[in-house]
């Protein structure tokens, strides 16, 4: 079962058997086409909403099913396109399909007049033309000096132009004028019939299954194709297969969202999923869910408001999901990032004020006794701290207030402050991290003692306990017994001018 073609082949067989079963079980007895064909834009009645949401109509049911599956497949394929930085290739594929559709129509008309509208034939034509578009892009990139962006734009516009020219020609053919080929451009979900939907659904499931089977290979391809090639994977063939999947998604998306917008179904869910997780497996799942959910909601909305075309509504629902993800995504969402940033800033400010307190008090302490016990005995005023760093009086007051609120210092009479025990402990730790890093830089990076302060100032907040431990191990030869090593440089206002630029 290890060889790729066998795996795919077996999967296809299983899928088609499953579909045979599913098709029979889902097909309802009534073929009511009412709900999708009324033309008005009023608030739908409660009955209509209920009817649509509960998927009472056979037509709504199959259209929703097909489009949702398309959304899932597009979301999943889109993740790999996004990771390969090829998102816009989908746009090229979709535009390139146009001449393929027209040529397929003409060829089928020639074989059997009136038979040009056979959907699978049209879709095969579209698929081949889409692949031809990709091939042209690759050829331009390989053999000319034209960069990727221009290559994409040229292929896209020339194929689309050729398609439009062919479409106009098709209009002259007697059966061509009512062929509905134009529906491929802007999409027309409502005009889909059961047979169309089954094609869409089957292709979507096939795509998802192929991705599932080749998940490892495709992830390797997306993250490091050169490494994959060096490992002996058939990178070129895998890439080709991925392109085929993209073309497949595009082609089945033509009917529901139209070729001008199908690229959105490839890009938007994948981009949205990236806000939720960093792991590829989960990204794929989330993208599939967002894509499917967007398509599902979009179709339902447009079923309730028949004047809203399904294609744009599906795209806009997807965008809504994208915006929500961009704001609230737990991994890279804006809100999460802002909160993390603020927390970090607060921690840095707290550590700065504690270190300033420590360094101010250090000369006043008796070096022979343990420092942490003496720190809490002294009272420090705002004026004492002001020259320790380049902070504005306002910022200093703010930092002191926050530190007081978190019980690191206590305010005493006339504006003085005293470190609490836990404050002294933390100050102790911060200064130790700072100085250990300074010593490390002096010892191992060969940096002059007068230059290490600023570097240490940046890094002190980020040193984890494991790094501190290894620093201690490294430096234990020279500073065996000191819990806080002495500062390697003089601490006065003058030396702190170096720190000034480091403080935002």
């Amino acid at each position: 079962m290890n060889s790729v073609p066998i795996r795919i082949g077996v999967a296809m067989v299983v899928v088609s058997i499953l579909f045979g079963q599913l098709e029979q079980s889902i097909a309802g007895p009534t073929h009511d086409t009412r709900s999708l064909s009324r033309d008005r834009l009023e608030w739908p009645s409660a009955d209509d909403i209920k009817r649509t949401l509960l998927l009472r109509d056979y037509n709504t049911r199959i259209v929703v099913l097909g489009t949702t599956m398309l959304g899932v497949a597009a979301g999943i394929v889109g993740v790999f396109m996004l990771l390969r930085r090829r998102s816009l290739l989908g746009d090229v594929v979709s535009h390139s399909t146009l001449p393929g559709i027209a040529i397929a129509f003409i060829m089928m008309e020639m074989i059997r007049p009136g038979g040009g509208k056979w959907l699978p034939g049209l879709l095969i034509g579209a698929l081949l033309a889409g692949l031809a578009g990709i091939l042209c892009t690759k050829l331009i990139l390989r053999y000319t000096r034209i960069k990727e962006d221009a290559a994409l734009a040229i292929v896209l516009s020339v194929f689309f132009g050729a398609g439009m020219a062919l479409f106009k020609a098709v209009q002259y053919i007697p059966s061509g004028s009512q062929s509905g080929l134009n529906h491929f451009i802007l999409g027309k979900t409502a005009s889909m019939v059961a047979a169309d939907v089954w094609v869409i659904a089957e292709v979507s499931v096939a795509i998802v299954v192929v991705i599932g089977l080749l998940f490892k290979e495709f992830s390797l391809l997306s993250f490091d194709d050169k490494f994959a090639a060096a490992q002996g994977w058939p990178v070129f063939r895998l890439d080709l297969l991925l392109m085929l999947l993209v073309a497949g998604v595009t082609v089945i998306g033509l009917q529901s969202v139209g070729l001008l917008l199908v690229v959105a179904m490839l890009i938007t869910p994948a981009a949205a999923a990236r806000f939720w997780t960093d792991r590829l497996g989960r990204t794929t799942l989330v993208a599939g869910m967002l894509g499917g959910g967007g398509a599902f909601c979009g179709v339902l909305i447009s079923a309730m408001y028949p004047r809203l075309a399904a294609g744009p509504v599906i795209v806009l629902t997807g965008v809504l999901f994208f915006l929500v993800s961009m704001l609230f995504g737990v991994r890279r969402g804006i809100v999460v990032r802002v909160i993390t940033h603020r927390q970090l800033k607060a921690a840095v400010g707290r550590q700065h004020i504690l270190r300033a307190l420590f360094e101010f008090l250090e000369p006043k302490c008796d070096p022979s006794a343990p420092m942490s016990l003496q720190l809490v005995d002294h009272i420090v005023s705002t004026d004492d701290l002001q020259p320790m760093r380049s902070w504005t009086p306002k910022r200093l007051r703010h930092l002191l207030r926050t530190a007081e609120a978190s019980d690191f210092i206590t305010a005493v009479r006339d504006g003085g402050y005293r470190l609490t025990t836990q404050g002294a402990e933390l100050a102790h730790r911060v200064v130790r991290n700072h100085r250990l890093w300074e010593l490390y830089l002096i010892e191992y990076a060969d940096i002059a003692p007068s230059h290490v302060d600023r570097d240490a100032d940046d890094i002190e907040h980020l040193l984890g306990s494991d790094i501190v431990e290894s620093l201690e191990r490294l430096l234990s030869q020279r500073y065996p017994h000191m819990s806080v090593p002495p500062s390697p440089h003089s601490i006065d206002v003058a030396s702190d001018t170096t720190t000034q630029q480091a403080v935002p």
């Binding site: 816009l88 746009d91 053999y143 000096r145 034209i146 439009m164």
Partner: protein, 497 residues
Amino acid sequence: MNRSATMLNDQPSRFGLGRALVVGFSLVLLIVVYQLMRKIMIGARWDSYDTWTVVTAALAAMACALPGVFLVLRRQSMMGDALAHTTLPGIVVAFLIAHWLEQSGWISSATYDSWRHAAMFIGALLIGVLSAVLTEWVQKLGRVEASAALGVVFTTLFAIGLLLIRLKADQVHIDPDCVLYGIIETTVMDTVPNTNIPRAAVVNGLVLLANSLLVVVFFKELRISAFDSAISTTMGINANVMHYALMAVTAATLVSAFESVGSILVIAMLIAPAATAHLLTDRLDYLIGISLAVAACSAFLGHLMAITLPSVIFTPLGYPEVVDTNTAGMMAVAAGCLFVTAALFGPRYGVVSKLLDQARLTRSIVAEDVLGLLYRLEEESGVGSLAINQLTAMIGTTTWPTYLALRGLAASGDVTVRGSVYELTDSGREKAKHLVRAHRLWESYMAKHFDLPADHLHESAALVEHFLGADLREELAAELDDTAEDPHGREIPPEKA
């Protein structure tokens, strides 16, 4: 190495006769093409209406090609494509606002009619900048990859535009088909009163004029920011401002061309002419000129193809009723054909010219190898003559480069042919001496400075010998204190006998 060898071969003096031939040939070709075109145009019943179609389309195409040059150079071609989509909501919203103003009595319907175009223009300018800004936001705030951010933004705006059109179609008087597919064939009918000049030609001509003026006035700024935005910023030209200005101008150009020729032609004309020109030249001023020419040619060829090709193709297929097709679409196809032609036959970067260059280089190297081989034979055994099949086997190439090389050598009198046996002439021997001298000098140099064993020297010298001119040989000889023997103990032939 290829490049330097080609440069060594390309002595300017060789082009005297060649250039004359090329000019003469092109003249003949032009006359033939002109006669052919006349026949075709008469056959296709070309009339003034066709001419005006071509003129309008050419003006639109040239207007688009100008901002396109900078989009291609800045690698933002897809941004142009995206703008072509996003101007749709811009137009619709502008129309809706103008319509609302008219309905609510703020402006009279006469003003509405005359300001419709201005409103559309302003809408496009705003939406152009808006798309760029939104893309930037999604990219920066969401840390989304650039092309994906662009994809999200343009599909969103386009979807909004489509919905608005569907919902408000009765108010905005925009036919989505017209905007998307272009109906240049009918816009030409709408002429300036009392003349034959189509209104669209005037609009596009004005936009072309405006764009040309902008390019001329801001040429320096555009050039610097296109090639190196960092440098342009240090020189006081704000790269961001240039970016947004380019987006706005592109969008305005697109929208003016939209109405008359449709979006397909616009997207094609934005990028294809500039990319075609980029295959032909490296200079920005030529690039702009060639782009304009390509744009105009595409318009002409496209229309010609639109009225001639369909019947040529479809009649044999059994559909004589197909007589013409979408002009804008065919213009895009024509632009694509010109691009492919340039990609294949461009004088410097064309695929065919690169192959020819390579063949020429191969031939000259093989010729030199033949000379060297014959010289070494003479040196060893006193007799330097070989049959062609022996030569081919010893040089290790296929037959035809050897054959071509030998023909060239025989023509320049460097070898003589007796039956099928080749022998050096005096002039050939002289050239071979220089080659072998270069080879052995290089071997000595390598042995002296690179500390390589004697059996590793030959490979590199066999490659380098073809690229060592007289001055380099002299320098090498001086460096090696005019040594007379190479590391293998063979004599280094003197430069002059």
